[in-house]
């Protein structure tokens, strides 16, 4: 069965059973291996991508359900040779990255969350991250990164100190 997707602004067509997880399509067919699959049962969040304006676990999403809305993966959050998204930038500067296996999912969850919650407190960030497991950082620096990114997004770039 052919499925026509829009991934990171590009049209893509794959020929797979409709029940194939979107994560497999992204990684094995479209060679977008930034999206990680760490548990395969939707619990760890490392496969998080954006479908329309929602963060979803791509390992649980049948590709047949991904046709209707654009898909954004970590590779599409900022241009490969362009500046980082504020969340990516803050994850680097706040030391929110260690082994990095959870990082793409964290970045996708947080960037989606901040689109609807411009000025979150730490508790809201933690709640937003409940579906993303990290085994390295203890989460604190990731929460710092989210708050830093939110502040940076609220402040136009030229107004930043």
């Amino acid at each position: 069965m052919n499925y026509r997707l829009t991934v990171n602004g590009r049209a893509a067509e794959v020929d797979v059973p409709g029940g194939t997880p979107l994560s497999d399509v992204l990684r094995d067919h479209l060679h977008l291996r930034g999206t990680k699959v760490s548990c395969g049962t939707g619990r760890c969040g490392s496969c998080t991508v954006r479908l329309g304006d929602r963060a979803v676990a791509s390992c649980l999403l049948p590709v047949a359900l991904a046709e209707a809305e654009p898909v954004t993966t970590v590779e599409g959050l900022s241009a490969p040779d362009g500046p980082l998204h504020p969340v990516q930038e803050a994850m680097v500067s706040c030391h929110g990255v260690q082994c990095g296996a959870c990082t793409p999912g964290m970045v996708m969850t947080l960037s989606t969350f901040l689109d609807t919650t411009a000025d979150p407190d730490a508790g809201q960030v933690r709640e937003a991250l409940t579906g993303n497991l990290c085994r390295c950082t203890g989460y604190h620096t990731i929460v710092d990164a989210a708050l830093t990114a939110a502040a940076a997004t609220r402040t136009p770039r030229e107004d930043r100190p």
Binding site: R27, L32, R33, G34, T35, K36, V37, S38, C39, G40, T41, R43, C44, S46, T73, V74, E75, L77, S78, P80, L84, V87, Q88, M91, V92, S93, H95, V97, Q98, C99, G100, A101, C102, T103, P104, V107, V125, R126, E127, L129, T130, N132, L133, C134, R135, C136, T137, G138, Y139, H140, T141, I142, V143
Partner: protein
């Protein structure tokens, strides 16, 4: 000793790389999703492998026929125990084969492996393998396993090679003792004791659960194997794969892409030998990746254990003598580090407190369960949990304040540990004072209505792995510096920041101009792996030594170019200049070019291994670890609240004082402490890799195996203490392991304080806490 109270905000020195919280240079690739992990590798013609694993934990293989599977579409290779008869083991007892041969010893043990064009074809091939098992009675319980009538899991144990002499028999894979004091002294101490207190503690398995599972891609070409793998210890994978395949180690080349976490679980060869066999048989590259269920069922976790402690104390609570009988679970074979760490419980019991007389025994026991392995802090977390809970029991029995009891027993400068080894400049008192400043012991804070409040404080001495390592440092044509080492970045930042900062500091160059190669056992000499907090320390020392020698070479060449004395020269960023007259300078690129056709390329190799400290050799019997290296001092304190209706534990405050020797990169230290405390919270409160009575691992996914989420890690108030170690690079000691070691202890003691019952089992799940509360009420 100096304190860095605000590590992240610490003023950044204008020059110098050491002591700065530089962001890690690999972070950008990771946030872009551009970092390439082993699970991301693909090669042209690559086959997909899958492993047939035993359903039973104890059985005889009565029939194994792979012919039908081998003939299925897309299947290129099927291998079994007949293809790999050699025995191996992690450094000590050689009791493991790649595949079960004749006998199954744990559920999940590999029986056969297949490689096919697609994962679906590989799964179909597994299903077509004809296997018949005749069940045996599994031996699962530790006490049952060491009983005289227990069925032997390895009837041929006495024939196994063990390059180190030790005490083994039957189901006891290793028996390590530490005995201090004569029988007369021992009897006298117990006779004179004010009280003798006994406790028994039980701890479960804890799984490392790196988010990247074990994964590898293997190739075979003309007698050599090339393996890309997710490992902490490439040379271990090299030597163990070779031993299991019956070939020489140099026939295995190990390369390491970005590693998605390890925590001790990736020190050993696991999937690599199977992938190599399949690659050789098929002539194609072969990819093998564990599912999460396979990770939990077969990738060696921290061992479960039973600890029995008996301590004689005087009326003030001073320890007079202490006995410990520890049973730790090796699982079905010695493929993990449990045997080599058999001596560790004794040292963990006796390195923080004054133990005048000791009878410590640790038996590493075979059971029909998946082999256990190293996890951050190895035996420390459960030994310290037992010791501290036991000391709280002593304090309560005597009516002595729990903090005061610790102050009376804690080791002071100049005193020796239980093995007779002197501590390296201990600052245990300073560490306790550091947490006291921030969380005063006598501070009375009322509990939330309806909740129970408890607190605890725990001092700790911990170690740094002493193992050997080599690193080369060379000056490139553009004036940058390349470090070549097999030491592996597993996410801690030890290579990406620590080693680079040490090299930059030693040379005087910009840290951005120091590059580090990725590990390749064909390109770099031995390194003892990312374990025991050793990378910044051991690899940092080796690279630092090499950088020092390279610096001399650079100055020698520059002296000729500048017609100046070497002693008048300094390296400042990308130039060599005459000190005090910056106008007279040459670039490092020019130095490189000048050297190229005169002395040859500039490069140097450094090496390091810690020298063993003196100790009382008479007291250690069969221990493979007799001493502990590069010790550091720590204290953790916590305050918790327990909901008596549900058993839920909330950690209100968590305070850490950590002696790091010298903070090479304070932000990375904060990251290690945060992450280690989080894993310790998981071990203390949630994590329990359950084994059924039939020996099978019951937890198959991350729904039931609970690791902490962002909602579960308390705020961590850290003070970094700098107490330089003369033999560490710029004074640095190991940082990554110590902060997990006391967490379960301090939380268990705080919960015990809250509920008024000594907690004897981990984890302190709401079920366990509520059961303890209900039992106490009755």
């Amino acid at each position: 000793m100096t304190a860095l109270s605000e590590p992240a905000a610490r003023a950044v020195p204008a020059t110098g790389a050491v002591g700065r919280s530089i962001p890690r240079p690999d972070a950008e690739a990771k946030v872009r999703g551009a970092a390439v992990y082993t699970v991301d590798l693909a090669e042209a013609g690559m086959l997909h492998a899958a492993v047939l694993r035993a359903e039973l934990s104890a059985a005889r293989i009565t029939r194994l026929d792979t012919s039908a599977a081998a003939g299925l579409p897309g299947v290129h290779a099927v291998v079994t125990g007949a293809d790999a008869p050699a025995l191996s083991g992690m450094l000590v007892v050689k009791d493991q084969t790649v595949f079960a041969i004749d006998t199954v010893r744990y559920a999940g043990e590999p029986i056969a492996a297949v490689a096919a064009e697609t994962p679906e074809q590989a799964a179909a091939a597994l299903a077509a393998i004809e296997l018949e098992l005749e069940p045996l009675d599994p031996v699962v319980d530790l006490d049952a396993a060491v009983a005289p009538d227990a069925r032997l899991i390895h009837p041929g144990w006495a024939d196994y090679a063990a390059p180190v002499d030790g005490f083994r028999s039957g189901n006891i894979a290793w028996d390590a003792r530490l005995e201090k004091g004569t029988d007369e002294e021992w009897s006298a101490a117990f006779a004179a004791a004010h009280r003798v207190v006994s406790d028994e503690f039980r701890v479960p398995r804890q799984h490392q659960t790196p988010l990247e599972p074990h994964a590898c891609v293997a190739r075979y070409t003309t007698g050599r194997y090339t393996v890309h793998t997710s490992t902490q210890f490439p040379h271990s994978v090299r030597s163990r794969t070779a031993e299991l395949l019956g070939i020489r180690p140099s026939a295995v080349r190990v390369l390491v892409p970005t590693v998605g976490g390890g925590f001790g679980g990736k020190l050993d060869a696991m999937l690599e030998p199977m992938a190599c066999l399949l690659a050789r048989r098929s002539g194609r590259p072969v990819r093998l990746v564990n599912s999460r269920a396979e990770e939990l069922a077969t990738a060696g976790p921290r061992e479960n254990a039973v600890l029995r402690l008996r301590t004689a104390v005087d009326a003030e609570g001073r320890i007079l003598a202490q006995e410990a009988d520890v049973l730790t679970d090796n699982g079905a074979n010695s493929s993990g580090e449990t045997v080599i760490c058999a001596g560790l419980p004794a040292l963990a019991l006796g390195s923080t407190y004054r133990i005048p007389l000791a009878r410590y025994r640790t038996r590493v026991v075979y059971t029909n369960t998946a082999p256990t392995a190293a996890f951050r802090g190895v035996g420390g977390p459960y030994v310290v949990f037992a010791q501290e809970s036991h000391l709280d029991h002593v304090a309560r029995a005597l009516g002595v304040d729990r903090r005061e009891l610790r102050l009376r027993n804690v080791l002071r400068p100049g005193e020796a540990m239980v093995n007779g080894q002197a501590l390296d400049d201990p600052i245990l008192i300073e560490a306790l004072e550091s947490v006291e400043r921030r969380a005063p012991w006598d501070r009375e804070r009322p509990a939330t209505p309806g909740k129970l409040r408890g607190k605890a404080v725990v001092p700790l001495t911990w170690l740094t792995n002493p193992g050997p390592g080599e690193a080369s440092v060379s000056l490139s044509d553009d004036g940058t510096v390349l470090v070549t080492t097999a030491a592996t970045e597993i996410g801690t930042g030890a290579i990406q920041t620590g080693v680079r900062q040490i090299v930059a500091e030693r040379l005087g160059v910009h840290v951005d101009d120091v590059l580090v190669s990725t590990p390749d056992t064909d390109a770099a000499g031995f390194d003892n792996g990312a374990q025991g907090s050793r990378t910044t320390y051991g690899a940092g020392n080796a690279a630092g030594e090499a950088a020092g020698e390279l610096r001399e070479q650079i100055l020698r060449t520059a002296a000729d170019m500048l017609e100046a004395a070497e002693t008048d020269l300094e390296i400042a960023g990308d130039v060599v200049q005459v000190a005090g007259s910056p106008g007279a300078s040459v670039t490092l690129a020019a130095v490189s070019a000048a050297a190229m056709w005169s002395s040859g390329p500039l490069s140097a190799t450094g090496r390091f291994v810690a020298q063993p400290p003196e100790f009382d050799a008479g007291c250690v019997i069969g221990g493979l670890f007799s001493t502990i290296n590069a010790t550091s001092s720590h204290a953790h304190a916590a305050e918790v609240e327990v909901d008596p209706d549900t058993g839920e534990v909330t950690v209100l405050t968590y305070v850490v004082a950590q002696d790091v020797g010298r903070a090479i990169n304070p932000a990375m230290i904060v990251g290690q402490v945060n992450g280690a405390v989080a894993q310790g919270v998981g071990y203390a409160l949630y994590e329990d890799l359950r084994i059924g009575p039939d020996g099978r691992v019951l937890d198959r996914n991350l729904e039931t195996y609970r690791i902490p989420t962002a909602l579960d890690v308390p705020p961590i108030d850290l003070e970094i203490l700098e107490n330089p170690l003369p033999t560490g690079p710029y004074g640095a000691k190991g940082v990554a392991e110590p902060p997990i070691v006391p967490v379960a202890a301090v939380l268990a003691c705080a919960v015990s304080d809250a509920i008024g019952v000594t907690v004897t089992d981990l984890p302190l799940s709401p079920f366990a806490v509520l059961a303890a509360l209900r039992a106490n009420r009755r």
